[in-house]
Amino acid sequence: MFRNLDDILNAIGSKPSETYWVVQKYIERPLLYLGRKFDIRVWVLITNKREVFFYKHGYIRTSSDTYDTKNKNNYVHLTNNCLQKFGDNYGKHEEGNTLSFDSLLEFLKQAFPNLQINFEKHVVSKMKDFVIDSYLSWKKNLNPNKRKNVFELFGYDFLLDEDLRTWLIEVIGYYPMQLYLNLKHQ
């Protein structure tokens, strides 16, 4: 995380040549879940027939420590499970720092009692928009060998800010699903 242009340029300058880096705006005012940062993970399946499927049951990943922009500790700002699981407070608030969509919706209704929040309409539909936009920007690079009967599974990470806007944080092509499967199994 950088706070000025010089730091960004220095960091990129120190990377190997002919590598590509994305500079992304930090969302400094995210919506907090009980004072802690969280993001939303959903799965998207794309087939060789160029069908894009959105899996209905995403989940919420929380950070272990109270959010504070002055605190530079990664456990405050990053919700990745691969990082959080090494934190002292991992699992202290939620099992596996993970919540279901239903838990988030319940929290949103409590946090915004005067807004008629419809999770599908106000959050999921925005996520679907981002999925389609990102797919269209990248589709020419998918399945380069034109294989038949194949699919790819992508993990999409989203964040809500305090105005309930949805932000796409990253898309990853491979993710260990064990934690998610355990959650679903419960």
Partner: protein
């Protein structure tokens, strides 16, 4: 076959053998699917605000700040103090200008090609680059804008400025358009017109 691929440790909640209903929503397909007879795209129109609640949109906060309750109002007043101009607030305007630019490009091209004594290839080339860039993501364009882009291509192809069509990058873009799946016929025709009027094609036939 399904018995081989289904995970025995975590069997699916909805058994696909009982029908096609499952927990995956089809949100986009170009050429139809077993889940949808027609092409499908559930993306919201670009004019829809990124703020799911108008009450939280800074444009409206002065008018309807009370809808979210006292706690929200306090938060918003703090947010407004801290709020800085950011890139995302201009997104809608950018998309509008992007669509608008195709209309302007067509008008400029039309005037430049038909009413100028001398055609400046650099001007036409700059317009052509923008048109091909827009057509690269033709799924995001409305029928009207696709039509405008195609008309612009026809206009260049049939003008004295068609020498610029032989630019290698443009030829590559056009060939990618032609090889894309489910490409609209209108775009294919414009691409064929482009290639048939390209000087490269004439050299080939000679």
């Amino acid at each position: 076959m399904l018995d081989i691929v289904l995970d025995p440790l975590f069997p699916p909640i909805n058994d696909v053998r009982n029908g096609r209903a499952n927990d995956f929503d089809l949100i986009y397909c170009e050429g139809g699917s077993v889940y949808s007879d027609k092409p499908l795209n559930v993306r919201s129109p670009f004019y829809v605000s990124r703020y799911p609640f108008p009450e939280l949109d800074p444009k409206n906060t002065g008018q309807e700040a009370n809808k979210g309750g006292v706690e929200y109002e306090a938060r918003m007043s703090k947010t407004n103090q801290l709020r800085s101009s950011s890139v995302e607030s201009n997104t809608d305007n950018k998309i509008a200008s992007y669509h608008c630019s195709l209309e302007i490009i067509f008008k400029n091209l039309y005037n430049h090609i038909n009413f100028r004594a001398e055609i400046n290839p650099e001007v036409v080339n700059s317009h052509l680059t923008k048109i091909l860039g827009a057509l690269k993501n033709w799924e995001l364009l409305s029928s009207k804008h696709i039509s405008l882009a195609c008309k612009s291509l026809h206009l260049i192809a049939n003008s004295a400025a068609n020498v610029i069509l032989s630019d290698q990058n443009h030829i590559l873009s056009i060939s990618k358009l032609l090889s894309s799946e489910n490409m609209k016929l209108e775009i294919q025709l414009a691409a064929v017109s482009y290639l048939s009027n390209s000087p490269i094609n004439r050299i080939f036939w000679l």
